[in-house]
């Protein structure tokens, strides 16, 4: 591949592009709902000015839908902003549950297109890790992408962060089709080149149907 090709297909850029494409598509959907419901308000207002009286409750319902979609779009933009800021520091202390919630939100559309849901299980105490925030998010996203492929329609993928003796771990599962997934899909180039960067490893437990990301203490 040429240097320009390598630059364009750098796995970090592909990851960034995927996240932004998915989130902006969702924002477009929210804007489309706002557009149609605002259009209905205008249609009914025109009818009123022509002497036809639609039920006033209808206006309340339509306005409520618009407000809900504005909140939805605002949340999506907030998540994109948080994600973009993960590049600010090469090394920082992050709380894993917050990162998992962010990723679950950013992956929502990708998961729902495969008929799968994502749930972050709460921890009793905060689970902190000192690491590269962007690389960690990239690895966690690759795990979520794999988990979605290894899940069946209707499955709920649980994300669970825990403290361990040597660092932290994140579980992804249960995954109904994990046993059938060929090893090559798991040991893909993108995850193999990223894992060692922040001293992480992945274990696939086919018996329990879970994959576990193991994070050791990381210093630059």
């Amino acid at each position: 591949m040429s240097k320009q090709g390598q630059y364009a297909h750098d796995s970090k850029l592909l990851f960034f592009g995927k996240i932004i494409a998915s989130a902006t598509h969702e924002i477009k959907n929210a804007l489309a709902v706002i557009n149609e419901n605002a259009g209905l308000v205008i249609d009914y207002s025109t009818m009123r000015s022509e002497g036809v009286s639609p039920d006033l409750k209808r206006f309340e319902t339509l306005a409520g839908r618009i407000v809900d979609q504005v909140k939805r779009a605002d949340k999506l933009l907030k998540n994109i902003n948080l994600f973009s800021h993960s590049l600010d520091e090469p090394l920082a202390t992050v709380e894993l549950n917050q990162i998992l919630h962010l990723l679950a939100a950013l992956s929502f559309r990708i998961a729902s297109m495969q008929g799968v849901t994502i749930q972050v299980l709460p921890s009793k105490t905060p689970v902190e890790a000192t690491t590269s925030p962007f690389i960690l998010i990239h690895i966690l996203f690759l795990c979520i992408e794999f988990a979605i492929q290894a899940a069946d329609k209707g499955d709920c993928i649980q994300l669970e962060a825990k403290k361990t003796e040597t660092g932290n771990s994140v579980r992804f599962g249960p995954l109904s089709k994990l046993e059938q997934m060929p090893d090559e899909t798991w040991h893909s180039v993108s995850i193999s080149e990223v894992l060692p960067m922040i001293k992480t490893g992945v274990i696939a437990d086919k018996e329990s149907g879970n994959i576990v990301l193991v994070l050791s203490e990381y210093r630059e």
């Binding site: 598509h25 249609d43 839908r65």
Partner: protein, 143 residues
């Protein structure tokens, strides 16, 4: 205009609002929220124009479009998407879509396309009916 329009989108509040706006403009419009439901409705009903979302979880827009063209080839399909890639637009047109619009869509533009699509369907139906009448005429003449 009394064309029958089916809005197909997994965003329920979008599909419902668009169908309602079309009803206010005297279209016989309804909404459903997935490709499989859409196919069933189209199989058993007389739908002139389908407004079809591209990205749906149960059956994506292109797959749904192919099925629609299998069961009711004359039904016109206007594809609708928040995704702005040329590739999906081309694929849709190659599979027989009447038009490809992006969300959010200007209402006047949408109405214009629905009118054009339903007129095209009527013209196709008229052509087929005249051709059938001509064939029947030839058969009767040769008896």
């Amino acid at each position: 205009m009394d064309a029958t329009v089916l809005v197909v989108d997994d965003e329920i509040e979008f599909a419902q609002a668009l169908a309602e706006r079309l009803q206010l403009r005297r279209y016989n419009a309804s909404a459903c929220y997935g490709g499989k439901d859409a196919i069933e409705i189209i199989k058993h009903g007389a739908i002139d124009v389908v407004i079809l979302d591209l990205m749906m979880p149960d059956m994506d827009g292109i797959e749904t479009l192919k099925k629609i063209k299998e069961v009711k080839p004359l039904t016109e399909v206007i594809m609708l998407s928040g995704k702005a890639t040329l590739k999906t637009a081309i694929e849709g047109m190659e599979q027989g879509a009447f038009e490809y619009l992006t969300k959010p869509c200007d209402n006047d533009l949408m109405i214009g396309k629905i009118t054009e699509a339903s007129l095209r369907k009527r013209k196709q139906e008229d052509r087929i009916r005249r051709a059938m009448e001509e064939i029947e005429g030839i058969i009767l003449k040769n008896r």
